[in-house]
Amino acid sequence: MEGRILFRLGFLAVVALQVALLLAILVPEERTLATGEEVLLQTAPVDPRELFRGDYVILRYTISTIRGYPGFAVGDSIYVGLEKRGETWEVRFASHSRPSGLFIKGRVTDALEGSLNIEYGIESYFVPEGSGHIIEGARDVKVKVAVDSSGNAAIKQVLVGGKPFKP
């Protein structure tokens, strides 16, 4: 009887662990979406597909490539300060350490003579099956992104031609 209770508790603990792991994915994202400052980024997307997770577009931003920073290597963390220029937000500076003001945190994926490619964790946007081509073919794609005080970013909305993306 005692063994059965222990087994039942073990089973419950495993299910609880799985729920906790799912929460570990979504809680930081929800926190960023809820507390982050909203910025609008200009993009240029391409459209691949992933088995089991559906269609998604890869988004590249104007802030994904920056020049004039020779002190960075591939794999380095990078903090990119942002400033509003017109409608969208662009690079103000980049540094190795956390700056003051609004900044977004990324990882250097390519570095050649001070020219850096950076990923911010907001490069994938999942779309309903078969609708990726709409974003791919659009001339003007902007992304509304929430950026929290630690520089973590999460996609809030994709705007195609200035309007929210609705396939």
């Binding site: 495993v14 662990l17 799985q18 799912l22 994915i25 089991f52 997770r53 269609d55």
Partner: protein, 417 residues
């Protein structure tokens, strides 16, 4: 552990299938009575014939139920992955539905298996729960646009299901865990290598990683088989271990791979990084597992020291491939092919000696694959190919002749003794 406690090797399925009619025949011929028949069958975990038949039908039902569970699981994944507008629900509701499905499946699996005593269907639903949990991890990632090449998602899947495999004593969930871990390690290694700027050599290094992981699974299978409470769970690790090892060896024996990715001038940026830590941990775990297996099976499994030696040889070679600059790849290619051929012949030999059909099947399947891919890969001209195959074939035939000679000597000894 005393000698008496050294575990017997689990009886092969072929043996068990043969044992039942044999025991029936012995009973008919009055060589043994009903009590002895029951005792002999019980010795191998079998019950009298009618019960054995019921067990077989139950096993078939279990396999069919697991296949059904896989199909339903893939269906659920694809349905939600399609991300259709019709299911465009608020984010919170979507997440709630996904988590609810997982918890519901586990609850149904538990009730069916442990409360209503329907182990087959209950086990299959629990397995479906484990697949659905993995789907849930990726779908929650999808909802929040988490990067698709994020290895952390596979890690969460593995960490979530591995305790369940042991708690529910489920071979299917253990196999799933082992595959998820293998995929996650490969993906993580690829990401780290990209970070290190060495994507050029990642194909070789990832294959080398699997050259360490395969022997680890295989050694763990022997440890599981040697510990009575875990014995039922050894088979998936054994099969996945063998397949992973042979697949890695097949890949690393390609001449083109080393031609494409010249490791000679490539810097080794991960030498002191996270990747070398992973390689070292896996290699240490493999060595420790082989040592534990040798201890558990001491003297009762004659071939295990040779299997361990082959596993450790591959481990060393994989380590060298991953971390030494390779200016002359030819010795590596020859060594990998020789090791693969020896391992395949050894596996078939072990299979025949231990009456293990799985070993023979896997060994022969990879032998066929090896012959096929080397035919196209190894030698450019027909003459070269013929020399390679004639040479290898002559060696294998010489081995067969030696075996035949040994068999005759054994027979002579038996007749004279």
């Amino acid at each position: 552990m005393s000698e008496a406690n050294i575990p017997d090797e689990p009886a092969s399925e072929q043996f068990l299938v043969r044992l039942e009619p044999e025991v029936e025949r012995w009973q008919r011929e009055r060589l043994i009575g009903a009590r002895q028949a029951t005792a002999i069958l019980a010795r191998y975990g079998l019950r009298p014939p009618a019960a054995v038949r019921a067990w077989r039908v139950g096993r078939l039902a279990s396999i069919v139920a697991i296949l059904g569970a896989i199909l339903v699981g893939v269906g659920i994944i694809l349905l939600i992955a399609s991300n259709r507008q019709e299911f465009d629900l608020p984010r919170g509701l979507k997440v709630g539905l996904i988590m609810g499905t997982v918890v519901f499946l586990y609850a149904v699996g538990y009730v069916l298996r442990y409360e209503l005593r329907l182990p087959t269907v209950g086990g299959a639903i629990t397995f479906l729960g484990a697949i659905s949990y993995g789907a849930a991890v990726f779908l929650v990632g999808q909802i929040y646009n988490v990067q698709p090449n994020e290895p952390r998602l596979l890690l969460y899947w593995f960490v979530g299901v591995i305790p369940l495999a042991y708690l529910a004593r489920s071979s299917a969930i253990l196999a799933l865990s082992a595959l998820v871990a293998a995929a996650g390690l490969g993906m993580q290694a690829a990401v780290w290598m990209e970070d290190g700027g060495s994507s050029q050599v990642s194909a070789i290094r990832i294959l080398a990683l699997y050259g360490i992981l395969g022997p680890l699974y295989y050694a763990l299978a022997h440890v599981h088989a040697g510990l009575p409470p875990l014995r039922d769970l050894h088979r998936p690790l054994q099969v996945i271990g063998l397949v992973t090892t042979f697949a890695a060896l097949c890949g690393l024996g390609f001449t083109n791979l080393f031609d494409l990715f010249d490791l000679g001038d490539e810097p080794i940026p991960d030498l002191l990084g996270r990747l070398v830590l992973v390689y070292s941990l896996l290699a240490s775990a493999t060595v420790a597992s082989f040592v534990a297996a040798l201890y558990l099976w001491r003297r009762s499994l004659a071939s295990l020291p040779y299997e361990a030696a082959a596993g450790l040889a591959l481990l060393g070679l994989a380590f060298a491939t991953a971390y030494l600059p390779i200016k002359e790849p030819e010795p590596y290619i020859v060594l990998y092919n020789v090791l693969l051929l020896a391992a395949l012949l050894g596996t078939v030999a072990v299979g025949v000696a231990r009456d293990r059909e799985t070993y023979v099947n896997i060994g022969l399947a990879f032998f066929a694959i090896l012959v096929l891919i080397r035919y196209f890969d190894w030698a450019s001209g027909l003459l070269d190919r013929s020399v390679v195959f004639l040479g290898t074939g002559a060696l294998v035939l010489a081995g067969a002749a030696l075996l035949e000679n040994y068999r005759r000597r054994l027979l002579r000894q038996m007749r004279s003794g």
